[in-house]
């Protein structure tokens, strides 16, 4: 077995520098002569700007410039625009207000950028920002998701009085109506999915440079898609060819979807750098991050299940209201939760389904993908509804799941909301998880907890998610140099997933290259020809497949060179273990020798195109469907409302596992983020639209002592849709963790009669739920 090949738990190659403080994160980068930018943000949820007076700020010590929205407009800079073809309920085109880098006359959420101050030092820029005098005329605001679309809500935009930006429909409405008409029982529930912040430990930053000689911009920033950031800045903001800009991302201290695309600070630092002829650096502070960043999730779903007399599911309908926030700065703000709602039928055979997603505007920071980006929402809704259905019908939730699960022999399966599940063995996942969690022993454990005055609950949640979209291709290039060492260039962008390691493993598997001979490069648009970046659990699947194909080309070309070197026909040359061998003989040359020869014309066939560098741009033909089963066990203290997760098991099927060690890391990390959302995290706006959870003092973050051990097991069913058989792993842990933890809490609360509770299950909310039921029962 290959030491570094596919399937090996290889410790990461990138760790050596990260462990020694030698990573290069965004704020670690400094340039000679750099200046510092500070963004002045709106303190109001909604207000008209009557006047802005920047005179005192401009005159303050060290200040180089103070820019406002009028300056931005006067310089003729553009704005990105959403491109997805969406409609409003009446069929008219969607309402998708673009976002300027700095507002001109209206602020629409707390944090909306109003002015950009640049000074010699950060302290001077901050001091000057406080001297800007703005006269605001506050207006009514709406931040609540369900309220935004209700009649009488204050419009965020005058041009869109009902706050409805667009709707998305999936499935077959009339067939679903018909199914419900035939249903023997129907169960309907409403669930709230809270707004959260990604809270990567490294806050965002941007360092802009303009080279007057080359007339060229360079943006250093921590983003997930360097090439797409460049494309958007060039095509919509600066209106220049992409060759006139370089975007570089170094090490990224976490991103989770929310460092996705183009943020206004990217435009600001580049624009200011050109005007001032100095590098301009902006670093977000933690207490600014919740104001400045896109948020995750935030939707309210009404979901209804129809069953026949045998408790078989016959239909599912869903209306989800998704909170878009104040702007549609790009298509990113249209993705959640509608794009991924197709898995709302879960792993169950539901013949008809219909989903309607209404995207509403509100006076809040725009929402965008955050780990799962609609996938956890879909599974949360269906898995909670199944538990509530079982409770209402007084049937075993496990038995109800089993009865309705899509069996492995029904694969491939076209679900009623348009998703094509190519493979998977959901029942096997569930059986494995139940065994690992000792599900059968739960009643005894519950009894023990009860004896101690505690409430114990268990849940089983099956997850499935759409990954690695065929809409985006990905790029890989393998470049040999004359010494036989290699540069591997990738269009994906690592943010902690361990790309350097998994990609070197794939390369090792195909070409036998020693990882020590391979230099890994990503995140630089001048070095990497193309890339779509890292999102949606796609990097291993799509990027890894691109490596695979580029490696094939290396072998093909190498075969011809080796044939010449070994004086044999190329067709007689076999490649294995890093060597080209004349079939049936022991005459061979190594790939390194072939690479060296590739640069020497005398060692090549006459007229042969020398060198050894190959690239591939791979697009999958279909989405993949990673899936898995989560079993969660919690203990609730009825006296305090405290919830403790006491056992957690997941069996995942992410297809071929490249590196079990890093896969488990991804899975556990994803579950941890789901746990944070279910038990404590939440972005809160108060009734006036003020953001009240801006710092780590107010935004509860999960710490080491809230976790217990998470057991991760794999049941891989490799897909045939790509050469690796991989399905994607980045979001898998998160997707099922939301319903599994919440359902376990609800199961624990069953004996005390709590039937209805939304996330987050904080001790306060759990305690109040217990109390209010007790009061109703006159206790």
């Amino acid at each position: 077995m290959k030491r570094y090949g596919i399937g090996q738990s290889v410790p990461r190659f990138e760790d050596s520098r990260l462990l020694r403080g030698r990573g290069r994160f965004q704020d670690d980068r400094n340039l000679p002569g750099q200046s510092y930018g500070v963004v002045l943000r709106s303190p109001h949820a909604h207000a008209r700007i009557v006047s802005i007076d920047t005179a005192a700020a401009r005159a303050a010590p060290g200040v180089l410039a103070v820019y406002t929205g009028e300056d931005y407009a006067a310089d003729g800079l553009g704005m990105p625009k959403a491109t997805l073809p969406r409609k409003r309920p009446d069929g008219s085109p969607m309402f998708a207000p673009q976002r300027p880098a700095l507002v001109v006359d209206r602020v629409r959420y707390v944090g909306d950028p109003v002015a950009f101050v640049v000074a010699d030092s950060l302290a001077e820029a901050k001091d000057a920002a406080e001297l800007i005098a703005i006269d605001y005329e506050p207006r009514s605001a709406v931040t609540d998701t369900a309220a935004a679309a209700s009649s009488g809500a204050a419009p965020v935009w005058d041009e869109c009085p009902d706050n409805i930006s667009n709707i998305v429909e999936k499935g077959n409405k009339s067939a679903t109506e018909a199914a419900f008409a035939r249903a023997v029982r129907t169960i309907k529930r409403r669930y709230v999915i809270t707004r959260v912040h990604a809270q990567y430990m490294e806050t965002r930053g941007a360092l802009g440079v303009y080279d007057e000689g080359d007339e060229r911009y360079t943006l250093y920033t921590d983003c997930q898609y360097p090439h797409r950031v460049r494309n958007m800045l060039c095509s919509t903001v600066f209106r220049i060819p992409e060759s006139k800009m370089r975007v570089v991302s170094g090490d990224i201290g976490g991103a989770f979807g929310s460092k996705g695309w183009q943020y206004v600070e990217h435009r600001l630092v580049l624009w200011a750098a050109r005007k001032l002829q100095r590098p301009v650096k902006w670093t977000c502070e933690r207490s600014e991050a919740v104001l400045a960043d896109e948020h995750g999730r935030d939707s309210v779903g009404e979901i209804e299940l129809g069953l026949d007399g045998d408790n078989k599911f016959v239909g599912l309908r869903l209306h989800l209201i998704g909170n878009i926030g104040a702007y549609v700065g790009s298509d990113r703000n249209l993705l959640v939760p509608s794009m991924m709602i197709g898995t709302a039928v879960g792993v169950y055979d539901i013949p008809s389904a219909y989903a309607l997603v209404t995207g509403v505007l509100s006076n809040t920071s725009p929402t965008a993908p955050y780990r799962g980006a609609g996938r956890p929402e879909a599974i949360y809704l269906i898995e909670r509804l199944i538990d509530d259905t079982a409770r209402e019908l007084n049937v075993d939730p496990l038995e109800l799941r089993r009865r309705n699960m899509i069996p492995a022999n029904a694969m491939p399966y076209q679900n009623a909301l348009g998703c094509y599940y190519d493979c998977g063995d959901f029942l096997a996942n569930m059986d494995m998880a139940l065994a690992a969690a000792d599900y059968a022993g739960f009643p005894a454990r519950r009894e023990q907890s009860r004896a101690r005055g505690m409430l114990r609950g268990i849940s089983v949640a099956n997850a499935i998610e759409q990954a690695a979209s065929p809409a985006q291709s990905e790029f890989a290039e393998i470049r040999f140099d004359t010494s036989g060492s290699v540069q591997l260039l990738m269009g994906t962008k690592n943010q902690g997933q361990g790309h350097e390691t998994t990609f070197k493993q794939i390369l090792h598997e195909r070409l036998g290259l020693d990882p020590g001979d391979v230099h890994f490069t990503d995140g630089d648009t001048d070095q990497v020809a193309f890339g779509m970046g890292t999102n949606g659990s796609r990097s291993t699947v799509v990027g890894g497949s691109a490596i695979y194909l580029a490696a094939e080309k290396i072998i093909e070309k190498g075969r011809r060179i080796a044939g010449h070197m070994l004086e044999s026909a190329a067709t007689d040359i076999e490649f294995a273990h890093g060597r080209f061998l004349v079939a049936g003989t022991d005459r061979a040359v190594s790939l390194k020798q072939v690479a060296a020869a590739a640069f020497v014309p005398a060692r090549l066939p006459l007229g042969f195109d020398g060198g050894l560098y190959e690239s591939a741009t791979y697009a999958p033909s279909k989405d993949t469907y990673p899936n898995g089963c989560h079993v969660c066990e919690v203990e609730v203290d009825p006296e305090t409302g405290d919830v403790a997760v006491v056992n957690y098991v997941i069996v995942d099927d992410v297809g071929t596992v490249i590196n079990p060690l890093t896969l488990k890391g991804q899975i556990v990390g994803g579950i941890a983020q789901g746990l944070g959302q279910i038990l404590m995290e939440r972005v809160v706006y108060d009734d006036t639209g003020q953001l009240v959870t801006a710092s780590f003092m107010d935004y509860a973050m999960p710490r080491a002592d809230v976790f217990s051990h998470i057991t991760v097991k794999s049941n891989p069913v490799p897909t045939k849709l790509n050469p690796l058989g991989a399905k994607g792993a980045g979001e898998a842990g998160c997707v099922g963790s939301l319903p599994s933890i919440m359902n376990a809490v609800m199961n624990a609360l069953e004996p005390v009669g709590v039937r209805q509770l939304d996330m987050p299950a904080t001790s306060d909310r759990v305690w109040k739920a217990i109390r209010s039921v007790a009061k109703e029962n006159g206790k």
């Binding site: 704020d27 430990m201 973050m701």
Partner: protein, 157 residues
């Protein structure tokens, strides 16, 4: 601006600093030791942990002038490429880092913890990490690494 004399990773540094300069900014900006990170502005995250006279401290919570005359060790001062510190090695082996941003602070905290509790159990480790946030790992592998690192750090008898 006052002068401070601080020994950082064994090297004596004499610098003038503004009174309001935090130790973390002194390390990152004046000494260009960027391995110590800033993850928050309310002393909650622990990305900035260094050792001051052998004890772990949040370098965002003290001023550079307060560190005058002390000995500071940062992540750059422990372990080399060839020979990682046992705690760094444990983090590597146990895959206790993903993005690596919290890692320097975690390791500096972990070394201090291991010195104070060489027989630490899981509960102690989890409790002792109260001031260190990680968003990537769910702490599971960090806890495992610290337990293993603490064993590896025990003086050989």
């Amino acid at each position: 601006m006052p002068d401070v004399t601080i020994t950082v990773n064994g090297k004596r540094e004499v610098r003038s600093v503004e009174t309001r300069t935090l130790l973390v900014h002194f390390l990152r900006e004046q000494l260009r030791l960027t391995g110590t990170h800033v993850g928050c502005d309310t002393s909650q995250c622990g990305a900035c942990v260094v050792h001051l006279d052998g004890r772990s401290v949040k370098s965002c919570a003290i001023l550079a002038v307060q560190a005058n005359g002390s000995e500071i060790t940062t992540i750059e001062g422990i372990g080399t490429e060839e020979q990682l510190h046992p705690m760094q090695e444990a983090f590597r082996e146990h895959h206790a880092l993903q993005c690596g941003f919290c890692t320097p602070g975690m390791i500096m905290r972990a070394i201090d913890l291991a010195i104070r509790h060489s027989e630490a159990d899981e509960t102690t480790v989890r409790r002792e990490l109260e001031g260190n946030l990680c968003r990537c790992t769910g702490y599971q592998n960090i806890v495992a690494a610290i337990l293993a690192g603490a064993v590896a750090m025990r003086p050989h008898v």
